[in-house]
C-alpha cells in the first residue's frame, strides 16, 4: 500500500530539489531534418535491394548448376539466359508470350467485369449477398484446371475454353475481397457520405470504393496470380489454341524436345512477367493511393 511510504521524510530520499525554469532553451541543433547519406538513400530504395537479391539468387543458381553438372536436369543460369535471348531472337518465345498475355488480359478483364456485376448485385440486395457468399464458398476452392475438361466440352478447343477457366480463376477472389472491403468500410465514413447528401452512385464511387480500396487491390493481386497459374496450367494440358501456342505450350514442347534450357527460359519468362506486373503495376497503384493516404503502411 502507498500509505506505508514515509511521505514526510524528505532527507531519506535525498536533499530537497528546487524548481528549475529554463528561459533560454538551447538553439544550436542546426537543421531538424538532416538529409540521409548517399549509401543510406540507395539502400532505402526497395528496387535496389530487390535487384541485389535477384542477382544473388542468379549467382546461387549458377553455382549449384555448375556443381551439379547435369544440363538435362538443371541447366546453368548462363545457358538459360542464352536460351532466353535465343528464344526472343527467333521470335518463338516472344510470340508465345504475346499469345499468353493476350489471352490472360482477356480472361482477367472479363473476370473483373463478372466480379463487378456480382459485387454490385451483392451490395444492392440481401439475396445478392447470400448468393455471393454461397457461390464463393462453393467455387473459390475449386482449382480452375479442374474445370478445363468441362470447358472443352462447352466451348470447344478454341480460346473460349481457356478464357472461361481464367474468368473462374479471377472472379471469385476479386468479388469476395471487394464485397468484404465494402462491408468493412467504416460506419463513420458512411454517415459522412449520407450527411452530405450523396446520390447512390456517388456514394459508391466516392465513399465505398476508395474506402474499400485496400481490399480491392488485394483481390486484384490475388486474381492476377490465380489467372497466371490457371493459364499456364491450361496451356500445358491443352496445347495449341487457335491463335498459336502460349508459354505453357512452349514449355511443354521444349520438354518433349529435351531442350531443357528453353524450358527454363519459358519459366523465367513467367517469373519475369509476374515480377514486372507486381512491382510496376500493383506497387505503383498502391503507392499512388492507399500508401499516400496512410491506409497502408
Amino acid at each position: 500500500m502507498v500509505g506505508e511510504l514515509p511521505m514526510s521524510d524528505e532527507t531519506a530520499r535525498g536533499p530537497e530539489r528546487p524548481d528549475y525554469i529554463n528561459d533560454n532553451p538551447p538553439t544550436g541543433f542546426g537543421v531538424v531534418a538532416k538529409p540521409l547519406g548517399l549509401l543510406e538513400r540507395i539502400f532505402d530504395r526497395g528496387e535496389v535491394r530487390k535487384t541485389l537479391m535477384l542477382i544473388a539468387l542468379a549467382l546461387v543458381w549458377e553455382g549449384y548448376a555448375r556443381w551439379l553438372d547435369n544440363p538435362l536436369l538443371f541447366p546453368t543460369f548462363i545457358d538459360t539466359a542464352r536460351a532466353f535471348l535465343q528464344g526472343l531472337r527467333s521470335r518463338e518465345l516472344l510470340s508465345a508470350t504475346v499469345v499468353s498475355v493476350t489471352t490472360l488480359l482477356q480472361g482477367y478483364v472479363l473476370g473483373l467485369v463478372c466480379a463487378a456485376l456480382l459485387t454490385a448485385f451483392a451490395t444492392a440486395t440481401r439475396v445478392g449477398a447470400d448468393l455471393l457468399d454461397t457461390l464463393t464458398a462453393m467455387f473459390n476452392p475449386l482449382p480452375s484446371i479442374a474445370l478445363l475438361p468441362l470447358a472443352m466440352i462447352w466451348f470447344g478447343l478454341g480460346n473460349g475454353s481457356i478464357i472461361f477457366v481464367l474468368v473462374h480463376a479471377v472472379m471469385w477472389s476479386v468479388a469476395l475481397n471487394t464485397h468484404t472491403g465494402f462491408r468493412s468500410v467504416s460506419q463513420t465514413w458512411r454517415m459522412v457520405g449520407q450527411n452530405y447528401g450523396l446520390s447512390r452512385f456517388a456514394y459508391v464511387t466516392r465513399i465505398l470504393i476508395p474506402g474499400a480500396l485496400p481490399s480491392i487491390l488485394t483481390g486484384l493481386k490475388i486474381g492476377w496470380a490465380f489467372a497466371w497459374r490457371a493459364l499456364i496450367a491450361a496451356e500445358l494440358v491443352f496445347g495449341v489454341s487457335s491463335s498459336g501456342g502460349g508459354l505453357g505450350w512452349f514449355i511443354f514442347q521444349n520438354k518433349n524436345l529435351l531442350e531443357i534450357p528453353s524450358v527454363f527460359a519459358g519459366l523465367l519468362m513467367v517469373i519475369i512477367f509476374g515480377l514486372a506486373v507486381e512491382n510496376l503495376v500493383f506497387r505503383t497503384l498502391e503507392q499512388r493511393t492507399i500508401r499516400r493516404w496512410g491506409m497502408q503502411s
Binding site: 459522412v192 449520407q194 452530405y196 447528401g197 496512410g294
Partner: protein
C-alpha cells in the same frame, strides 16, 4: 428585442429512440423534449450510455424515432441532409483519400451547396478560420488528433448549416488541447453565430460551451433538467456554483463512489 418571442429553430417533442438487437429492444432515450433557438449553443449533458449520441443521430436523420417528432424550422426530419451537419468524436470522420482542402470541398460540392471557384474560396476561408492553411494540402493521416477535429469543424461550418451537431468532438483529445479547442469553438461561434447542438459527458465542458444545458438521466435518457449557463460557472441564487448544481441533479441520492467514478 427581449419582448419578441423567438420561434424555436429545432423542436424535439416526446422522442423515444430504440435499437433493435437480435433478440431484444434497447431503449436509448425515453420521451425527450427540448427546443433549440437560433444561435443557441445548446448542450446535451449526461453520463456515458444515456443515449446522447443516439439523440444527436436522430436529429441528424440517421435514426427514426419510434415515438415523437423532430422538427427543424417548418419541416419534420425524416432523413440525413446537409442542413444538419454532424461532427463526430472519431478522428476517422475525415476521408483519408482526400486532402484537408478536398475534404471540405467534397462536402460543399457533393451537397450541391457551391461549385467551382466559389466552393474553393469558401473552403479556404474556413480552413483559415481554424488556422490550418499551411496544412490544406496534407492528407489527414499526417495531422494530429486536434488538427483533424479542427478540419472536421471547418468542414461542418463551411456548409453553413441550419444547425451544427457535435458529438463529443473533443472527448478523445488531451486536456490541454481540449481547453484550447473549446476556446476556439467559442471564438468561431462569435464570428458565425451558427446554432450549435453539442453533446458531452463532461460537466466542465458543458458549463464552458453552453448557453443552455439539457441534463439527461442515466440510461435510458430522460430529461432531468434544462439550465441556462453564462460560461463562467457563475454562483446561482441558491449560493452554489452551476457545476455543483448540475452534479447534484445528475447524481442525487447516489452513493459518493458513483460520483467519483464519473469524473
Amino acid at each position: 428585442m427581449a419582448t419578441e418571442v423567438q420561434k424555436p429553430l429545432l423542436d424535439v417533442d416526446g422522442v423515444t429512440l430504440q435499437y433493435r438487437a437480435r433478440d431484444h429492444l434497447v431503449t436509448a432515450t425515453y420521451r425527450v423534449s427540448f427546443s433549440v433557438r437560433k444561435s443557441d449553443r445548446y448542450v446535451i449533458l449526461g453520463p456515458s450510455g444515456c443515449g446522447k449520441s443516439t439523440l444527436l443521430k436522430a436529429v441528424g436523420g440517421f435514426i427514426k424515432p419510434v415515438e415523437g417528432t423532430i422538427t427543424l424550422g417548418e419541416r419534420q426530419i425524416t432523413r440525413p441532409g446537409p442542413d444538419r451537419v454532424l461532427v463526430f468524436q472519431e478522428f476517422d470522420q475525415l476521408l483519408p483519400w482526400k486532402t484537408v482542402e478536398q475534404n471540405v470541398l467534397f462536402a460543399l460540392t457533393s451537397s450541391g451547396r457551391l461549385s467551382g471557384g466559389e466552393a474553393v474560396d469558401r473552403a479556404r476561408h474556413y480552413i483559415e478560420k481554424v488556422k490550418l492553411t499551411k496544412f490544406a494540402d496534407s492528407y489527414p493521416h499526417m495531422l494530429s488528433g486536434g488538427m483533424k477535429q479542427r478540419v472536421a469543424i471547418a468542414r461542418g461550418m463551411a456548409m453553413e448549416p441550419e444547425i451544427l451537431l457535435m458529438d463529443e468532438p473533443f472527448a478523445a483529445l488531451d486536456a490541454l488541447t481540449r481547453g484550447q479547442m473549446q476556446e476556439e469553438l467559442l471564438q468561431l461561434w462569435e464570428d458565425t453565430r451558427v446554432t450549435l447542438l453539442f453533446v458531452t459527458h463532461s460537466i466542465a465542458e458543458a458549463v464552458r460551451i453552453g448557453n443552455r444545458i439539457l441534463l439527461l438521466t442515466p440510461h435510458p435518457g430522460r430529461v432531468r433538467a434544462e439550465l441556462g449557463s453564462t460560461g463562467i460557472d457563475a454562483i446561482g441564487a441558491d449560493g452554489r456554483r452551476l457545476s455543483a448544481r448540475i452534479e447534484s441533479l445528475l447524481f442525487e441520492g447516489e452513493p459518493d463512489g458513483r460520483r467519483a467514478a464519473h469524473e
